[in-house]
């Protein structure tokens, strides 16, 4: 039995990791786009970006997941996400990516706005272009500053992937819970916690190494 549980849970955690990695790949760059939008001088763009962030941060991720998955079907009378488990996965990824992009955008904005005006001015008086100032002077300083808050969000994302279970994506919690019905045992569900702990432990070590790499300046 134990072996069977391990196999099932590992398969489930594979799905958890898939959600985690694909969400990051989508939301990290999308967050930057939203961050530039919310700092834009174009008022409409700024308003739309900030409104979007407000909605994404102001409502539960679980509710967003449900609305993203069922909403289009109710309004358009057709399932835009495709059939079966693949369709559900795409819907979940869409919801996670836009939600996390909103959070990341605020971290980026905070990081960019924390760089002193003097750094921009020093670049300007040396005759550099705005783009050169951003990529060669500001960017690395921003990256250093956003590592701690980004780490926090990333660790939270590992655990938020479990919300995918509300629309039946077979991630690790779903797999653990399935044993209650099929075998009448609850300990596999408890065991899923160990998977999360080991993975977040590994992430914490990696993040620590990255932070060390940036210690040479402040």
């Amino acid at each position: 039995m134990f072996q069977e549980v391990i196999i099932e849970l590992t398969v489930g955690f594979g799905k958890t990791l898939e959600l985690f990695v694909l969400t990051l790949i989508g939301s990290v760059p999308l967050g930057l786009v939203i961050a530039f939008g919310s700092m834009s001088k174009i008022k409409v763009l700024k308003f739309i970006s900030r409104f979007f962030v407000w909605v994404m941060r102001g409502t539960p991720l679980m509710l967003q997941l449900i609305i993203v998955y069922y909403g289009p079907g109710l309004i358009l009378n057709q399932n835009i996400w495709g059939m079966g488990s693949n369709g559900r996965l795409i819907a979940v990824l869409f919801a996670f990516i836009i939600n996390y992009a909103a959070y990341f955008s605020e971290i980026y904005r905070g990081g960019i706005e924390s760089i002193s005006e003097g750094q921009y001015e020093a670049g300007q008086v040396l005759g550099l272009t705005k783009k050169q100032i951003f990529t060669n002077i500001v960017l690395l300083q921003v990256v250093k500053r956003i590592i701690p808050p980004m780490s926090n969000e990333i660790i939270t994302l590992v655990k938020d992937t479990s919300l995918a279970r509300v629309i039946a994506v077979y991630e690790v919690i779903w797999m653990g819970q399935a044993f209650i019905k099929s075998a009448g045992i609850i300990w596999p569900l408890f065991m899923t916690g160990a998977y999360y702990l080991i993975f977040t432990g590994i992430l914490t070590i990696i993040i620590g190494k990255i932070e060390e790499k940036f210690e040479y300046f402040n």
């Binding site: 300007q124 060669n136 002077i137 300046f217």
Partner: protein, 250 residues
Amino acid sequence: MSILEVKNFNKSFGDVEVLRGIDFELKKGEVLAIIGPSGGGKTTLLRCINFLERAEEGIMKVKGKVIFDGKNSRMTEAELRQNRLHFGLVFQQFNLFPQYTAVQNIVLAPNLLKKADKKTNKKNALRLLKRVGLADKADNYPCELSGGQQQRVAIARALAMNPDILCFDEPTSSLDPEITGEVLRVIKQLADENTTMIIVTHEMGFAKEVADKVIFIDEGKIVEQGDPKVIFDNPNTDRLKNFLGSMLRA
């Protein structure tokens, strides 16, 4: 001929008039010291000259060519950057780039703007570091340097773009008194090498020693200007007398 002519600079922040008709000229190789009480407009004038602020009115010529006209200036980004390169600016807060070593700070702009090939730029940077007495600190990061050393790197960084006029905005105001000397010595040395400079400063003794010409600004206007000996030893106006008196007491 004057290397720099500033005519009728006017600048307001909201309702506050910070500069009210500033005129002056500077010849090649001259050192101009700008003195005056805080909030009098010294730094704003320097920032307008360096295009960090925009004067609403006024004309600026470098080597006889108009590079700024407040009344009709539709400069493109590229023109603005080109015009800026006539000047170098050393900030009160140094503003070195923290993620780069001393030598990397100096070569950044020359490399990005392809002033010369990278090898030449680096050789030039090391020569400049030697000139400001920091040959052994080339590979140190700003956080490993003292304030005085950081400011000397900042001076080398500004010199690397070969500006016609090097500007200083209170270069020693954020330094501990005992290390202002090392920065002032570097500026003095530049003056002896006939570098054209504009220095906004509170160091009256230094201004008197190093400047060819002094401008006293108060409430956005030039109250007195001329030879440092006259300005410091025989001030004409009560305002300058009071100001110098208050600096002596401080």
